[in-house]
Symmetry: C2
Subunit: 338 residues, 2 copies
Amino acid sequence: MGVNLKDIAQRAGVSLATVSNVVNGYRPVGERTRQRVQQAIDELGYSPNLGARHLRRGRTGLIALAIPELNNPYFAELAEIAISEAAALGYTLVMENTAADRKAELALLDGTRRHIIDGLILSPVRIGREEVLARSADTPLVLIGEGVSDVPYDHIAIDNVAASHAAIQHLVAIGRRRIAFIGATPGGDRQSAHLRVRGYREALVAAGLPYRPRLVARTDAFGRLDGKRAMRDLLALGDPPDAVFGYNDLVAIGALRTLAEAGLRVPEDVAVVGIDDIEEGRFGTPTLTTIAPDKREIGRLAVRRLVARIEGTAVAAPLTVQTPFRLVRRESTGTPGG
Amino acid sequence: MGVNLKDIAQRAGVSLATVSNVVNGYRPVGERTRQRVQQAIDELGYSPNLGARHLRRGRTGLIALAIPELNNPYFAELAEIAISEAAALGYTLVMENTAADRKAELALLDGTRRHIIDGLILSPVRIGREEVLARSADTPLVLIGEGVSDVPYDHIAIDNVAASHAAIQHLVAIGRRRIAFIGATPGGDRQSAHLRVRGYREALVAAGLPYRPRLVARTDAFGRLDGKRAMRDLLALGDPPDAVFGYNDLVAIGALRTLAEAGLRVPEDVAVVGIDDIEEGRFGTPTLTTIAPDKREIGRLAVRRLVARIEGTAVAAPLTVQTPFRLVRRESTGTPGG
DNA sequence: CATCGCCTGTATAACGTTATAGAGCCGCAC
DNA sequence: GTGCGGCTCTATAACGTTATACAGGCGATG
């Protein structure tokens, strides 16, 4: 096919190995020969065959970021950060869409594709601790999000319970008493949903407010449409909520839409809070109050940690990091001045 | 490292080649031996080393989709479709972010990474016809979007001029007379922006309305913030517009935000139209009227065409396809009944 | 009974790279 | 002048796979 080492070697009148050494700097090469070789490379337009290099070295320079929803802006924003961090470290990041599918997550974990990537950053939602423990592949793995925890892998996430606390405290502080949650899941499916519900519940109790199961709305997924439907159901209750906390910004945005259609005012009639701080929430009307995780920190840390494992720099025990978050107050809960 | 063909061959008491034939079905294998081999594969948990396979076959099974903005939902939605189509054809699609950077586009085109992907789907924005013609790599290429045209590659896009026409006609039909455009670019940068401006202009003239350069707002990029700022500038004009057509939905959404902040009513005071039909536009308030390209068709066609080239099925001349679009009327231009 | 062809399986040469062992040369010390 | 170490460079064996050429067995055909 393309130009290979042999072509360069012939052109420069040196051996294969010397060309390889010029390219990789593995062994020193005399200045004169180096120049000849470099010239041949430039003239013929050589670039190494990554497949062959991989075969020999056992590394591809590819790492994968596996996320459950490609068109959830939170993950798109996270991916953008991770891609540039990976590039800075000399790796190429490829995105893998699990589509929140259990089989897809398992396949990635055990690596049908294990030979082509050097490491994996996974945001698990449908698999749990046991599946991760049972993993047979030895490709380095970093987990993000609170899908699973207590496993012998590096793990980066925000404290979901604390994040929920912060959201509810804010709603309580602005005088809300009937606070709903949208985005609980039936069964043991989505660990982070459970944690966010738990934080919601604990914060209510801490504030001396009753926990009302009817105000916890379940959804099948976590998109705008799910939030919209759940909000409709909540409004149909005899005594509808005066505030809503969404599992994420998308769900909260769906809820906002239902409120607009119902002719209710936000935040006067119902206040709304989400999680993720996606850009969309800063441009809608009203703008969305949210819990903002430090996406930059999560993305960078995940990539760095993974690369350290790949290159054997990190020999220490698996690290669990809780990255910071902050409450960003916007119109959907009333601006600080108002 | 992992389990390889040799391990299986030893365990099953057959030769390497036979195992390979069981795995690939390249040559028939007797039923008894096939079973022994299969059992060995299952017991040892073998999966082929894709790097080595690639080296031998000259194919990786990887195709790339290179897009200018990863967190533009339009591309995220397109990518999701392309990923599943690729999977159906036995390929894995990896996403590549050019970040609308000229160098990144050139690098992809000429393929620093050429050995690792079998083909490339590219949405060019900063490079033009000449750069594409000068390309040296022989990896199959499919272009999407109207960034460049008239090149000897398969090319899939909507008719941007016609799309603009449709948008403007709609605005004229609901009685607007001072129609602005947001998202022109200085210089010869972004071809599709020029085409959309041209369609805007032609449609105005066709409707007997004057073309006013002051109503054409330039932006550096095409995000929500750009639309928001441009709309502010337009409102500062002595005689502000009664309708706005955005380069894409994101820009239009930014404009909507400015209008909300200015206390103007949409569509009563100003009507707004975008292009792309991203999900976000269906959930904001007001919902956004838009030109909806057939994303499914574009994604599927691009992948199919590329795979056909890779596998040598398509020997015919490069194909240029204009995919259909339709106007989706929503609240930002008044619902059909109102 | 020799020949042919089919069927199943084997041995082996690539693919393009990198790491290891070693070859040649030169200068210096004994 | 023999031996030794340091410096460049070369020859070559892997890495795991697939495709090609080939070998052996066996039934059918002439």
